[in-house]
Subunit: 243 residues, 2 copies
Amino acid sequence: MPEIGLAVSTVIFALRPHPETGRPVLSIPLVRRTRDPFEGRWALPGGWVDPAESLGTSASRTLVETTGVRPSYLEQLYTFGAPDRSPTGRVVSVVYWALVRPEQIGERTDAGFDAHNVAWFVADALPHLAFDHDDVVAYALWRLRTKVEYSAIAQGLIGSTFTLSELRQVHEAVLDRVLDPANFRRQVESSGTVVATGEHVQGGRHRPPRLYRYDTSAPLADLGPLAADPPIPTPADPPGENS
Amino acid sequence: MPEIGLAVSTVIFALRPHPETGRPVLSIPLVRRTRDPFEGRWALPGGWVDPAESLGTSASRTLVETTGVRPSYLEQLYTFGAPDRSPTGRVVSVVYWALVRPEQIGERTDAGFDAHNVAWFVADALPHLAFDHDDVVAYALWRLRTKVEYSAIAQGLIGSTFTLSELRQVHEAVLDRVLDPANFRRQVESSGTVVATGEHVQGGRHRPPRLYRYDTSAPLADLGPLAADPPIPTPADPPGENS
DNA sequence: CTGTGTTCTGGTCACGTTGACCTTAACTCA
DNA sequence: TGAGTTAAGGTCAACGTGACCAGAACACAG
């Protein structure tokens, strides 16, 4: 009953400025393989499951270790276990997907971080990945795009306060489709997932938009009777920050 | 990286006559544990993953071996891997859920089948199960009930031809809620998943209902870019049957 | 043979949601 | 002061849904 390696991998999503247009675009951090199976090819961040830790904890740990980002949302995606998916032996991968807020993408410079082997890619223009990770990413993208339409997960990609225009841009970037501002407003406001702070953003050359905040009492996504993964522990939270 | 046992379990759903009322009710077959962890308690059918077989194949195999039923639908549900879910060591379980048509529930009498340790239970009145299988079943039930409302999986629980009244009873049994016959008819017919055979069912003391058949060109459920599990091989298909 | 009870089948109606579109508000900048 | 911009609120038609109604087509009792 052993002989089967158990790994976790995570598809991490964040909105980053497009390298050419500069507009926010859905992006994924990848890790370059430095060892034999698929050496030199890009792959999803991940690692072996420690026998003492849960699958979700294992995902957060390997995710932070390899990419340095701190996710705002983590959910199990699917378990991939085709017998031939790794040429070096049987490996079953429990895959998670995660969302990261722009402010949490710290540009790491600490020891143990190899900038040459970790890089962000535009989600719709990835290179051919190692293992079956092309399929994994395709499925994760489908899940994210499906879920952003019926749940409030977009908050996992945006800061704590925002204008409805900014929130709409998140949805547009994920769905890769322009949305009607007025209809988007109506939909979001009637959903009750969002609350106006009362403040307005000054400085634009137009009418100052209201600031909003997500209603923290509402769940970010409906997982049914499944308990959500525990929040990721923060190594160093800026004191005085009211997140 | 070993030390972690990898298992599969399956939550199998079928409609069977309620032991008291006789009306069709959502039911689940369970297996009584004959070995140490949770000995004597009922648990989901399953077993260890063979290093040579895929996860889906492993689920179908263990499912047939222990319960004898042949599923019409099989889908991965979730992977459970809490460190303490098995008292004898670390076990990660990839859980599938399956649907079985009434005609496929053969009452097994062959050797190797222990009727005393396999039994069907009403899904909403299960005993307290081994391991974390109570949670597993709760999640599977939620998924089934959610999915029956927006997909055509109900065909996995019904024979090849049926009246809309019979199909409605399947939905009612799954959702545990009565549905308006006229509205149900409108919804199903406009979905295009079902085709009238042209025949009618005689014999009832009322207007003879049309017979329908599922449109086999339409997928049973939308899994996104994920390939559906391969159809379960039939040990002995009745020849001449046009399934 | 006729009435009654049953389900089947097609229909109407009110209501809520959605996409398309319009209008005014409120700001900056030339 | 006017032009340009986005914000914010509104209308309207189309659509899907739940509640409900009514005739159709059978079996059965009397």
